[in-house]
Protein backbone atom coordinates (compact mmCIF):
# COMPACT_ATOMS: atom_id res chain seq x y z
CA UNK A 1 0.00 0.00 0.00
CA UNK A 2 1.45 3.37 -0.98
CA UNK A 3 0.70 7.05 -1.27
CA UNK A 4 -2.39 8.78 0.05
CA UNK A 5 -4.32 5.53 0.60
CA UNK A 6 -1.59 4.31 2.97
CA UNK A 7 -1.61 7.69 4.73
CA UNK A 8 -5.41 7.61 5.11
CA UNK A 9 -5.39 3.97 6.32
CA UNK A 10 -2.59 4.71 8.79
CA UNK A 11 -4.56 7.69 10.03
CA UNK A 12 -7.67 5.55 10.58
CA UNK A 13 -5.58 3.15 12.73
CA UNK A 14 -4.10 6.06 14.72
CA UNK A 15 -7.64 7.33 15.38
CA UNK A 16 -8.75 3.82 16.38
CA UNK A 17 -5.83 3.56 18.82
CA UNK A 18 -6.50 6.97 20.38
CA UNK A 19 -10.23 6.39 20.86
CA UNK A 20 -9.68 2.83 22.15
CA UNK A 21 -7.27 4.15 24.78
CA UNK A 22 -9.87 6.71 25.89
CA UNK A 23 -12.69 4.15 26.01
CA UNK A 24 -10.56 1.63 27.94
CA UNK A 25 -8.55 3.79 30.36
CA UNK A 26 -10.47 7.08 30.35
CA UNK A 27 -7.34 8.99 29.38
CA UNK A 28 -6.36 11.03 26.32
CA UNK A 29 -3.70 9.29 24.22
CA UNK A 30 -1.48 12.35 24.01
CA UNK A 31 2.09 11.20 23.52
CA UNK A 32 3.73 14.28 25.09
CA UNK A 33 1.47 13.87 28.14
CA UNK A 34 2.22 10.15 28.42
CA UNK A 35 5.98 10.68 28.05
CA UNK A 36 6.00 13.72 30.35
CA UNK A 37 4.12 11.82 33.09
CA UNK A 38 6.50 8.86 32.63
CA UNK A 39 9.54 11.18 32.95
CA UNK A 40 7.97 12.68 36.09
CA UNK A 41 7.47 9.21 37.61
CA UNK A 42 3.65 9.18 37.41
CA UNK A 43 1.69 5.98 36.54
CA UNK A 44 4.95 4.45 35.33
CA UNK A 45 3.45 1.06 34.48
CA UNK A 46 0.65 2.33 32.22
CA UNK A 47 2.62 5.17 30.59
CA UNK A 48 5.70 2.95 30.21
CA UNK A 49 3.61 0.22 28.57
CA UNK A 50 2.28 2.74 26.01
CA UNK A 51 5.83 3.85 25.15
CA UNK A 52 6.97 0.21 24.80
CA UNK A 53 3.97 -0.35 22.52
CA UNK A 54 5.04 2.63 20.38
CA UNK A 55 8.48 1.08 19.91
CA UNK A 56 7.03 -2.38 19.16
CA UNK A 57 4.52 -1.05 16.57
CA UNK A 58 6.99 -0.42 13.72
CA UNK A 59 8.50 -3.89 14.31
CA UNK A 60 5.05 -5.48 13.85
CA UNK A 61 4.73 -3.37 10.70
CA UNK A 62 8.07 -4.81 9.51
CA UNK A 63 6.81 -8.37 10.17
CA UNK A 64 3.62 -7.71 8.17
CA UNK A 65 5.12 -5.75 5.24
CA UNK A 66 8.63 -7.23 5.16
CA UNK A 67 10.47 -3.93 5.64
CA UNK A 68 10.90 -1.32 8.36
CA UNK A 69 9.23 2.05 7.68
CA UNK A 70 11.44 4.65 6.04
CA UNK A 71 13.06 7.32 8.22
CA UNK A 72 15.09 10.02 6.46
CA UNK A 73 16.72 12.47 8.85
CA UNK A 74 17.37 15.77 7.15
CA UNK A 75 18.56 17.79 10.17
CA UNK A 76 22.08 17.57 11.61
CA UNK A 77 22.55 16.17 15.12
CA UNK A 78 23.13 19.60 16.79
CA UNK A 79 19.96 20.87 15.11
CA UNK A 80 18.09 17.76 16.30
CA UNK A 81 19.15 18.52 19.89
CA UNK A 82 17.72 22.05 19.61
CA UNK A 83 14.60 20.65 17.92
CA UNK A 84 14.15 18.04 20.67
CA UNK A 85 14.47 20.61 23.46
CA UNK A 86 11.91 22.91 21.77
CA UNK A 87 9.48 20.02 21.13
CA UNK A 88 9.81 18.87 24.76
CA UNK A 89 9.38 22.33 26.32
CA UNK A 90 6.69 23.47 23.87
CA UNK A 91 4.52 20.35 24.05
CA UNK A 92 4.44 20.42 27.87
CA UNK A 93 3.86 24.21 28.01
CA UNK A 94 1.08 23.97 25.41
CA UNK A 95 -0.46 20.92 27.15
CA UNK A 96 -0.19 18.70 24.08
CA UNK A 97 1.20 17.91 20.67
CA UNK A 98 0.06 16.45 17.37
CA UNK A 99 -1.73 13.51 19.07
CA UNK A 100 -3.50 15.05 22.08
CA UNK A 101 -4.43 18.37 20.42
CA UNK A 102 -4.19 17.21 16.80
CA UNK A 103 -6.20 13.97 16.90
CA UNK A 104 -8.39 13.90 20.02
CA UNK A 105 -8.60 17.64 20.59
CA UNK A 106 -9.93 18.29 17.09
CA UNK A 107 -12.26 15.27 17.37
CA UNK A 108 -13.68 16.75 20.61
CA UNK A 109 -13.99 20.16 18.87
CA UNK A 110 -11.97 21.65 21.74
CA UNK A 111 -11.33 25.37 21.14
CA UNK A 112 -7.97 25.14 22.95
CA UNK A 113 -6.85 22.33 20.65
CA UNK A 114 -7.99 24.21 17.53
CA UNK A 115 -5.85 27.19 18.59
CA UNK A 116 -2.92 24.88 19.44
CA UNK A 117 -3.06 23.08 16.07
CA UNK A 118 -3.38 26.34 14.11
CA UNK A 119 -0.44 27.79 16.08
CA UNK A 120 1.97 24.87 15.69
CA UNK A 121 1.08 24.45 12.02
CA UNK A 122 1.78 28.15 11.44
CA UNK A 123 5.09 28.15 13.33
CA UNK A 124 6.10 24.82 11.75
CA UNK A 125 5.39 26.12 8.23
CA UNK A 126 7.23 29.38 9.02
CA UNK A 127 10.24 27.42 10.32
CA UNK A 128 10.49 25.10 7.30
CA UNK A 129 10.01 28.04 4.92
CA UNK A 130 12.78 29.96 6.71
CA UNK A 131 15.07 26.88 6.60
CA UNK A 132 14.45 26.68 2.86
CA UNK A 133 15.35 30.36 2.38
CA UNK A 134 18.51 30.15 4.53
CA UNK A 135 19.68 26.70 3.52
Amino acid sequence: MTGYLASLSGGLLIGLSAISYLILTGRIAGISGILGRLAGGHSVLVNGAFVVGLIVGPLIYALVFGALPQVTLVASTPLLIVAGLLVGIGSRMGSGCTSGHGVLGLARLSPRSMVAVATFLASGIATVTLLRIIG
Binding site: Y4, L45, G84, G90, R108
Partner: protein, 143 residues
Amino acid sequence: MSFDLRQPLAALGCGALFAFGLSLSGMLDPARIQGFLDLFGAWDPSLAFVLGGAVSVAMVGMVLVRRMARPVLAQTFHIPQSRVIDRPLVLGSAIFGIGWGLGGLCPGPALAALSLGLMPVAVFVLAMVAGMVIHDRLLSGRV
Protein backbone atom coordinates in the same frame (compact mmCIF):
# COMPACT_ATOMS: atom_id res chain seq x y z
CA MET B 1 -6.37 -1.69 41.47
CA SER B 2 -2.58 -1.34 41.57
CA PHE B 3 -2.11 -5.01 40.64
CA ASP B 4 -4.58 -4.83 37.77
CA LEU B 5 -2.57 -5.49 34.62
CA ARG B 6 -5.45 -4.76 32.24
CA GLN B 7 -4.63 -1.03 32.00
CA PRO B 8 -0.93 -1.55 31.13
CA LEU B 9 -1.93 -4.22 28.60
CA ALA B 10 -4.46 -1.84 27.04
CA ALA B 11 -1.73 0.84 26.90
CA LEU B 12 0.72 -1.60 25.30
CA GLY B 13 -1.81 -2.61 22.63
CA CYS B 14 -2.94 0.96 21.90
CA GLY B 15 0.70 2.14 21.72
CA ALA B 16 1.55 -0.65 19.25
CA LEU B 17 -1.53 0.09 17.11
CA PHE B 18 -0.70 3.82 17.17
CA ALA B 19 2.87 3.23 15.95
CA PHE B 20 1.72 0.64 13.38
CA GLY B 21 -0.60 3.32 12.01
CA LEU B 22 2.21 5.88 12.02
CA SER B 23 4.45 3.42 10.12
CA LEU B 24 1.75 2.66 7.54
CA SER B 25 0.95 6.35 7.08
CA GLY B 26 4.57 7.24 6.30
CA MET B 27 4.60 9.75 9.17
CA LEU B 28 7.59 8.14 10.88
CA ASP B 29 9.68 9.86 8.23
CA PRO B 30 10.86 13.39 9.22
CA ALA B 31 11.40 14.20 5.53
CA ARG B 32 7.64 13.68 4.87
CA ILE B 33 6.65 15.83 7.88
CA GLN B 34 8.91 18.62 6.68
CA GLY B 35 7.45 18.08 3.21
CA PHE B 36 3.98 18.80 4.63
CA LEU B 37 5.22 21.91 6.42
CA ASP B 38 6.95 23.07 3.22
CA LEU B 39 3.72 24.69 2.07
CA PHE B 40 5.48 27.22 -0.17
CA GLY B 41 7.89 24.64 -1.66
CA ALA B 42 7.50 21.00 -2.73
CA TRP B 43 4.36 20.47 -0.63
CA ASP B 44 3.51 16.86 0.37
CA PRO B 45 -0.15 16.79 1.54
CA SER B 46 0.09 13.25 3.06
CA LEU B 47 -0.18 14.43 6.67
CA ALA B 48 -3.58 15.98 5.93
CA PHE B 49 -4.86 12.51 4.93
CA VAL B 50 -3.39 10.98 8.12
CA LEU B 51 -4.92 13.64 10.36
CA GLY B 52 -8.23 13.55 8.48
CA GLY B 53 -8.48 9.77 8.89
CA ALA B 54 -7.49 9.85 12.56
CA VAL B 55 -9.84 12.71 13.49
CA SER B 56 -12.79 11.08 11.64
CA VAL B 57 -12.46 7.82 13.57
CA ALA B 58 -11.95 9.65 16.87
CA MET B 59 -15.02 11.85 16.20
CA VAL B 60 -17.24 8.81 15.67
CA GLY B 61 -15.73 7.25 18.81
CA MET B 62 -16.46 10.39 20.84
CA VAL B 63 -20.19 9.81 20.25
CA LEU B 64 -19.79 6.48 22.05
CA VAL B 65 -17.58 7.99 24.80
CA ARG B 66 -20.22 10.67 25.58
CA ARG B 67 -22.81 7.91 26.16
CA MET B 68 -20.57 5.95 28.52
CA ALA B 69 -20.87 6.53 32.27
CA ARG B 70 -17.27 5.41 32.85
CA PRO B 71 -14.36 3.91 30.91
CA VAL B 72 -14.10 0.12 30.63
CA LEU B 73 -11.02 -0.26 32.84
CA ALA B 74 -11.16 2.83 35.09
CA GLN B 75 -13.54 4.77 37.35
CA THR B 76 -13.71 8.09 35.52
CA PHE B 77 -12.84 9.83 32.26
CA HIS B 78 -10.01 12.37 32.44
CA ILE B 79 -10.97 14.66 29.57
CA PRO B 80 -9.71 18.28 29.69
CA GLN B 81 -12.64 20.67 30.20
CA SER B 82 -10.86 24.04 30.01
CA ARG B 83 -11.87 26.37 27.16
CA VAL B 84 -9.49 29.18 28.14
CA ILE B 85 -7.05 30.29 25.45
CA ASP B 86 -4.10 31.39 27.59
CA ARG B 87 -0.48 32.36 27.05
CA PRO B 88 1.12 28.96 27.85
CA LEU B 89 -1.15 27.29 25.25
CA VAL B 90 -0.23 29.68 22.43
CA LEU B 91 3.44 30.21 23.36
CA GLY B 92 3.99 26.49 24.00
CA SER B 93 2.35 25.48 20.72
CA ALA B 94 4.43 28.07 18.84
CA ILE B 95 7.67 26.74 20.41
CA PHE B 96 6.57 23.16 19.68
CA GLY B 97 5.95 24.04 16.03
CA ILE B 98 9.44 25.54 15.62
CA GLY B 99 11.04 22.34 16.99
CA TRP B 100 8.69 20.20 14.85
CA GLY B 101 9.72 22.10 11.72
CA LEU B 102 13.47 22.04 12.55
CA GLY B 103 13.65 18.28 13.11
CA GLY B 104 10.57 16.93 11.35
CA LEU B 105 9.85 14.90 14.49
CA CYS B 106 7.14 15.13 17.14
CA PRO B 107 6.83 12.92 20.26
CA GLY B 108 4.88 9.95 18.79
CA PRO B 109 6.92 9.36 15.63
CA ALA B 110 10.18 10.06 17.52
CA LEU B 111 9.47 7.34 20.10
CA ALA B 112 8.24 4.91 17.41
CA ALA B 113 11.34 5.59 15.27
CA LEU B 114 13.53 4.46 18.20
CA SER B 115 12.76 0.93 16.99
CA LEU B 116 14.99 1.53 13.94
CA GLY B 117 18.03 1.96 16.16
CA LEU B 118 19.21 5.23 14.62
CA MET B 119 21.47 7.29 16.89
CA PRO B 120 20.19 10.76 15.79
CA VAL B 121 16.63 9.70 16.73
CA ALA B 122 17.81 8.60 20.19
CA VAL B 123 19.60 11.96 20.60
CA PHE B 124 16.39 13.81 19.65
CA VAL B 125 14.34 11.75 22.15
CA LEU B 126 16.84 12.44 24.97
CA ALA B 127 16.74 16.19 24.20
CA MET B 128 12.92 16.06 24.07
CA VAL B 129 12.67 14.34 27.48
CA ALA B 130 15.17 16.87 28.86
CA GLY B 131 12.96 19.67 27.48
CA MET B 132 9.89 18.16 29.17
CA VAL B 133 11.68 17.88 32.52
CA ILE B 134 13.06 21.44 32.17
CA HIS B 135 9.52 22.68 31.58
CA ASP B 136 7.87 20.68 34.36
CA ARG B 137 10.56 21.51 36.97
CA LEU B 138 11.49 25.10 36.07
CA LEU B 139 9.05 26.77 33.69
CA SER B 140 5.63 25.37 34.65
CA GLY B 141 3.38 28.09 36.04
CA ARG B 142 5.88 30.89 35.27
CA VAL B 143 4.97 31.69 31.68
